[in-house]
Assembly symmetry: C2
């Protein structure tokens, strides 16, 4: 025999990393929340050692912050950090678009076109939830088609870090319209397999997203401190 499929090696701390990450993604642990070790130990029925290892890993990923001798908490994000991360995501998406254009099949184009049309339908209905889901699906599909695993991983990691802003992603109608326009252009460039154009559009699309978040942050600030 030539290649035996390596049996799945499990490690408790690895499971915990995934588990806690899900907890954060699903919003059960919201940004800023303290993470008491003991409580999670009881919840998952493990001892503190693997749990602590998991927290260290999540801290390295940036979604958990460790306060030496004072425990861990779910990372919060500042406007400054958002301002730093969005351009990076823009650069990565641009690269993904470029790579995707070089590899995309007609079948893939048709598939994304379907998602795009679905998304438009939800936009017209004003259905934010399904719209967002399809929006993300399209962006994910781009990364998959790009076929660069490391790139996809880095992007996902960044998405996780800015996850904290999800709850304030209340686009204004103008910004939403803008996003739709961007997506139309994305579809066109993708169908034409015009990599450099798609890259440019995606970068700009992310700049628009960043502007949207900035507006939301400002709105929120004024709301909190009247």
């Amino acid at each position: 025999m030539t290649a035996t499929a390596a049996i799945a090696r499990r490690s408790l701390h690895g499971e915990l990393v995934a588990l806690i990450r899900d907890l954060i993604v699903d919003g059960e642990l919201s940004p800023g929340t303290k993470i008491p070790e003991q409580a999670l130990c009881e919840r998952f029925e493990v001892s503190r050692t693997p749990l602590r290892e998991a927290l260290k890993v999540l801290a390295a990923e940036g979604i958990v912050t460790l306060h030496p001798n004072r425990g861990a908490s779910v990372s919060t994000i500042t406007a400054e950090q958002v301002a730093e991360l969005f351009p990076i995501m823009g650069a990565l998406e641009a690269l993904a678009g470029e790579l995707a254009c070089a590899r995309i099949t007609d079948r893939d184009i048709a598939r994304i076109r379907r998602m795009h049309d679905d998304m438009l339908a939800h936009y017209r209905k004003g259905a934010r939830g399904p719209y967002t889901r399809l929006n993300q699906a399209i962006h994910n599909a781009l990364f998959e088609i790009a076929g660069n695993g490391a790139l996809q991983q880095m992007y996902n990691s960044l998405m996780l870090r800015i996850h904290a802003i999800r709850f304030l992603a209340r686009k204004s109608p103008e910004r939403w319209r803008e996003a739709i326009d961007d997506h139309e252009e994305i579809m066109t460039a993708l169908a034409a397999r015009d990599g450099s154009r798609l890259a440019r559009i995606l970068k700009q699309h992310l700049e628009h997203k960043a502007a949207m978040v900035r507006e939301a942050l400002v709105a929120r600030r004024t709301q909190i401190a009247p």
Copy 2:
């Protein structure tokens, strides 16, 4: 008083992360080397718990690979991974260049020009070591001027991951000449504060680097299996 400087909080595992990372960077632990916990515990005079935590973090960073139940080893890198990482580094450098152009001062330009000239002098003398050092210093300076901490961190992290190829970075004279030409163009675009042009050149520069590494890898392969 308004702002007391928070006293430096130390954590053993944090120290160990830095320490082991240095060991790897300095080449004391070369890629593929197994990392026996006990040996390092004795070397650093710590117990296994913090050391294991440190290894988990380094694994999350990608420079250490964990083999469940079989210990850890310094990550090796395949040609495929190099092919995935270089385009990402290209995208990040391009972004750094663009941001740097928007913020660079005349003083900074003069400083980089000096480094550039020094580097050229070393090139003419054929001094690879000092050349490489200045080359890296220039790229680092670009990231610093760009002023995006997250970007710099991600780039450094990637540099660490491809660190394994450092020993085979034997440029052919043609490739070296090519790199010099790239750097001349980089200086020109930087002095003109032409962000998009600098971005394009940096991306291309990284493509050249990738090609160089690919050649070195091929050469090495044929050398090993004659």
